[in-house]
């Protein structure tokens, strides 16, 4: 049995490592303005960028207290701007963000290290200029988002496809091997690596909330919205062993039900729904298995492999392990 006291202390210390208490004056304002709804513009930008598949490190996002914000930040409508169809989305599983000023030699060494890992299937490099160009394209209708983003602090990154999505933890362990011993130390990644991020975390958190997972073992997000593609996937699902029930959810339906689901999850829909639009939520089949096959076997049977992006007509397969 683990030493729960010590482990919980470490968890609490690490989780709050970067936390900065808001100024007391800001607290007082909060008291006065308690009932007024306010969307923090910069908060939305960060969340939108994350949703789009470009995960930013904390130095870009800014922390509470970094910059003064106007007392009433304008509510930014980014509906439609954030698209889950970001370039890397559905192609890779993880982002390895590089530290600022990493030398080309060191970058090459990191790449070789990645390629040597047995859980890594493909490695792509994205330069700062490429990332910025992609961001500009993604938000071309929303200049206010681009204005708040400083291209100089966008990190270079390796985009990594794993041989199976659940191997993220092994990738993380390989690059950031040492658990923290000191409260204020950064997570100890190998030289040149700033952070390793699970690309699907935002999607899992938002689009697959608890009420669905109670009856769903696997969510199969579709790559296209066409009827022919959809029916082809439906036939493939129907032909598999162990499938108890398949429910189709249209993008419009998923978008309509999003606020209700977020509320049931105890999340604030006002902060999350603006990141999505009916066009940016992928269509999905929600699949319940009958217990005769394991979730992992199902994925392989459907796609022939568990690699992200290797499945015809399918954007992404998200598995929801649950105890039976």
């Amino acid at each position: 049995m683990i030493d729960l006291d010590t482990q919980l202390e470490r968890l609490a210390a690490e989780a709050t490592r970067d936390a900065v208490p808001p100024e007391p004056a800001a607290l007082a304002r909060r008291g006065r303005r308690r009932r007024r709804r306010q969307l923090a513009g910069s908060a939305l930008v960060v969340a939108a960028v994350v949703a789009a598949g470009l995960i930013l490190p904390a130095r870009l996002a800014g922390r509470a207290g970094d910059r003064p914000r106007p007392a009433t930040a304008p509510a930014t409508d980014v509906a439609g701007a954030a698209s889950l169809g970001g370039y890397w989305f559905g192609k890779t599983d993880a982002s390895v963000l590089l530290e600022e000023g990493v030398t080309p030699a060191r970058r090459q060494a990191i790449r070789e290290r990645l390629e040597d890992l047995d859980v890594v299937d493909q490695v792509y490099f994205e330069s700062r200029a490429e990332a910025w160009a992609r961001l500009k394209e993604l938000y071309k209708g929303k200049p206010e988002i681009l204005e708040r983003t400083d291209p100089a602090v966008i990190p270079e990154s390796f985009r990594v496809r794993l041989d199976a999505p659940e191997h993220f933890k092994r990738l993380l362990l390989a690059l950031c091997p040492r658990p923290l011993t000191k409260v204020d130390a950064k997570l100890a990644c190998i030289d040149g690596v700033e952070a390793v991020v699970d690309d699907k975390a935002p999607l899992k958190a938002v689009l697959v909330p608890k009420p669905w997972t109670a009856t769903t073992d696997v969510t199969v997000f579709l790559a296209g919205a066409g009827e022919a593609e959809r029916e082809a996937v439906r036939r493939r699902l129907a032909a598999l062993d162990g499938v108890a029930e398949v429910t189709y959810v249209t993008p419009a339906e998923a978008y309509r039900r999003l606020p209700e689901k977020l509320r049931r999850d105890g999340r604030d829909p006002g902060k999350v729904t603006p990141l999505f639009s009916p066009a940016s939520v992928p269509a999905a089949f929600h699949v319940a298995l009958d217990g005769s096959v394991r979730v992992g076997e199902f994925h392989r049977a459907l796609c022939g492999s568990r690699k992200t992006g290797a499945c015809a007509g399918i954007l992404l397969v998200l598995e929801h392990p649950r105890r039976r």
């Binding site: 049995m1 683990i2 729960l4 006291d5 482990q7 919980l8 202390e9 470490r10 968890l11 609490a12 210390a13 690490e14 989780a15 709050t16 490592r17 970067d18 936390a19 208490p21 808001p22 007391p24 004056a25 800001a26 607290l27 007082a28 909060r30 008291g31 303005r33 308690r34 009932r35 709804r37 306010q38 923090a40 908060a43 960060v46 994350v50 930013l56 904390a58 996002a61 922390r63 509470a64 207290g65 933890k169 092994r170 993380l172 362990l173 950031c176 040492r178 658990p179 923290l180 950064k186 997570l187 952070a195 975390a201 509320r263 049931r264 105890g266 604030d268 829909p269 006002g270 902060k271």
Partner: protein, 163 residues
Amino acid sequence: MADDGFAAFYAGSYRRLLGQLFAVTGDLAEAENVLQEAYVRAFARWSRVGDYDLPEAWVRRVAINLAAMAERSLRRQARALLRLGPPPLVPELSPDLLDLRDALAALPLGQRQVIVLHHLVGLPVEEVARELRLAPGTVKSRLARGRAAMAGSLDHDRSEVTS
């Protein structure tokens, strides 16, 4: 903001309480939300709360109750507790702590509350019972069930990684 020791109390207790609330909610933004709301309430009553032996315990109790309400009640959304700054990103955690966080998050709220108060805050069972207005026997059984469930999922995860 008038002071009377509030600022020092606030600065001195914020991170500790935030860590405790994170352990209860499993979500840093949510933990900040309820904690800041609790500080706002403490400040509004500071002439009274500041005289308590443990104002920190008062803030913690209010924040834990708010977190429970948030989990239990939809009405909380209408109140739209306001966020003060950009959301912190998901905290970077050491790989072994990811398992712990997930194991904790999988527990029902009642078990999470007693685990955090007993094991992280360090309160004895009787005080946990008083804090949450529960019978000591209930606290003990929730502790036992919570620990057993966490041990189960942590062992399970470990075997998965090493296989």
